[in-house]
Symmetry: C2
Subunit: 346 residues, 2 copies
């Protein structure tokens, strides 16, 4: 008896066959989507709304490791990364496109598995898949997803609006995605040495979910609307808190004081950091991939969110001349350092 | 004395340094561009126009060979490919984004050279570069470009509007890009055997330009407006005439008769085909990358373009039951075959 799922070579059904198989069940949900898959370009009508657009590129071996990232999770996360950028403008995503470059090692079923995660994200966030490009690569998998969204011009929040006296806030908690990645890397190394060993992942469900199946903060954008809060500036945390704070401050021409003891971290993140013998604050400051929202509020707006446990005030905006500093628990000021993505520097 | 241009490793200036260097001279030209590079997402206001969106992915070794494609030309062509899709909707492009994945072999200067072609295309077609993503890859170069454009809803032309009795037309001439590619491949093989040999490219400037620096047909879309012509259906020729005709007919639920002797081809294309001992018609039908526009016109609209030497009537639309046929010079009907892209089938 053969329990293996059938594997179909892409060559058997061809490029057009593959695209048809992947897109045959699409049902468009947004009234702004006039034309989706199937023409030279997609067509949208946003009425009198502004159009918000973001795009990203993920490559195998750099952004993901298929040794331990399931394809469905990868598809889901690839969408989330872009939706997070749309939310960081205080806008709502409506459409995505998916470009894939696939090497010969991927079967039709593998691509369908990847797409099942993409469609799940579309379902969960109410966005339409409207097109893309599926082609081949000499080695590995490359995914480029783009997202289109909409907002009234008056609601848009840029990186450039923070003012001295504003309060610096963050949603959720930080460092978890990095801690989850370190755990997966560690168990993968163990597996490479001894494939009989079962990975030790118990008790770390939260940080694994933060790494493998992150969510984007639609609920935060909805909360702002409900509470009638408009951040003065906002950015999503993809590269790490330190780097994102420096972007906000540079764009807004301000400085800031970030209080070490205020940075929200989950217990699993702290525990994993302990096992790895690193300071958990490093995971929060430089780890990245948390997809939380970092934003600044006027003191009046800060009053409106202070009882929401999902938001944490982590610092204050100052004049640019004071610099961007981490205020350590002991009270000393340490200049923040932007790490950015290190891939290009290897 | 060292005449070599200085090569800077990307690691020396980092990701943010590279992006700043590549985008520092951008001046936005379109009033629809509210926010370009530098935030989580770009923002556009199209007023009451529809938004048209297209995206593409090009990978090294599949879509281009850096042995003979200069980086500047590659950047230019990568933009053109997407603009062509926007024109094929009878729309006008306004913005593009550029995603790059680079392996360690590329210097800052090499990326700047690629961008110089991207910016030249932006300049020539009046579009704004509004963002993107620059990251690393384990091997080779991947480019994903997206284009946003606009049109009044009434002006949009889909693949689905062709009707029996319509006239099938094409702009420019076909097969040249394929002939140019074959020439470059041949000379590259010669070079690999004997690097001292100078490539034999004289007299083939036109087909080389068709392959290395194609243009997208903004002038055709402008001509339609001037002549008050609205095609009933349209598609751009990226995969080859045969495949595109079959897309148009399938989407429009019609058939067609394509007349062999009407297919426009340049003399250089025919000459190169002769040297390669292939039928030039094969280059036109299956070669691809010509980025001409294939469209159908009502008989009344066909009257308006008949004196324009840049348009050629190549066939007629029939009932679907008659199939999609090539009518050979001798009069016999041969069913067209879609080739599509063969990369995924290798």
């Amino acid at each position: 008896m053969n329990n293996e799922r059938k594997q179909t070579r892409i060559a058997e059904i061809g490029e057009f066959g593959l695209i048809e198989r992947l897109t045959q069940h699409i049902q468009l949900k947004n009234k702004s989507t006039l034309k989706g898959v199937g023409d030279d370009a997609a067509v949208m009508d946003y009425g009198n709304k502004c159009v918000v657009f973001s795009t990203d590129l993920l490559t195998e071996g750099i952004h993901f490791n298929l040794m331990y990232v399931p394809l469905k999770h990868l598809g889901y996360k690839a969408v989330i990364v872009n939706l997070s950028d749309i939310f960081a403008m205080n806008a709502l995503p409506r459409q995505i496109t998916v470009n894939l470059a696939l090497s010969g090692k991927f079967s039709v079923e593998a691509v369908e598995e990847l797409y099942s995660g993409i469609y799940l994200a579309c379902e969960n966030y109410g966005v339409d898949l409207i097109g893309g490009d599926t082609t081949s690569s000499l080695t590995g998998l490359t995914i480029s997803i783009s997202a289109l969204g909409e907002a009234d011009e008056k609601d848009l929040v840029y990186r450039s609006g923070a003012r001295p006296g504003d309060v610096l806030c963050v949603s959720g908690d930080l460092g978890g995605a990095y801690a989850g990645l370190q755990l997966l890397e560690r168990e993968n190394e163990v597996f490479k040495v001894n494939p009989e060993m079962q990975p030790q992942l118990e008790g770390y469900d939260y940080i694994l979910q933060r790494q493998l199946k992150p969510e984007a903060r639609l609920d935060v954008v909805n909360a702002f609307e409900k509470l009638q809060v408009k951040p003065t500036s906002m950015i999503d945390i993809s590269d790490g808190l330190s780097s994102e704070i420096m972007h906000l401050c540079k764009n807004s021409k301000v400085g800031c004081r970030l209080f070490e003891e205020k940075v929200p971290m989950d217990n699993q993140t702290k525990q994993m950091a302990g096992e790895l013998n690193i300071n958990p604050l490093v995971a929060a400051l430089n780890g990245g991939e948390d997809y939380e929202l970092l934003f600044t509020l006027s003191p009046e707006d800060a009053e409106k969110i202070k009882n929401d446990p999902d938001f944490t005030v982590i610092g204050e905006i100052t004049e640019a001349s004071e610099g961007t500093n981490l205020i350590a628990t002991g009270g000393s000021a340490i200049p923040l350092q932007a790490q950015g993505w290190k891939h290009l520097e290897d």
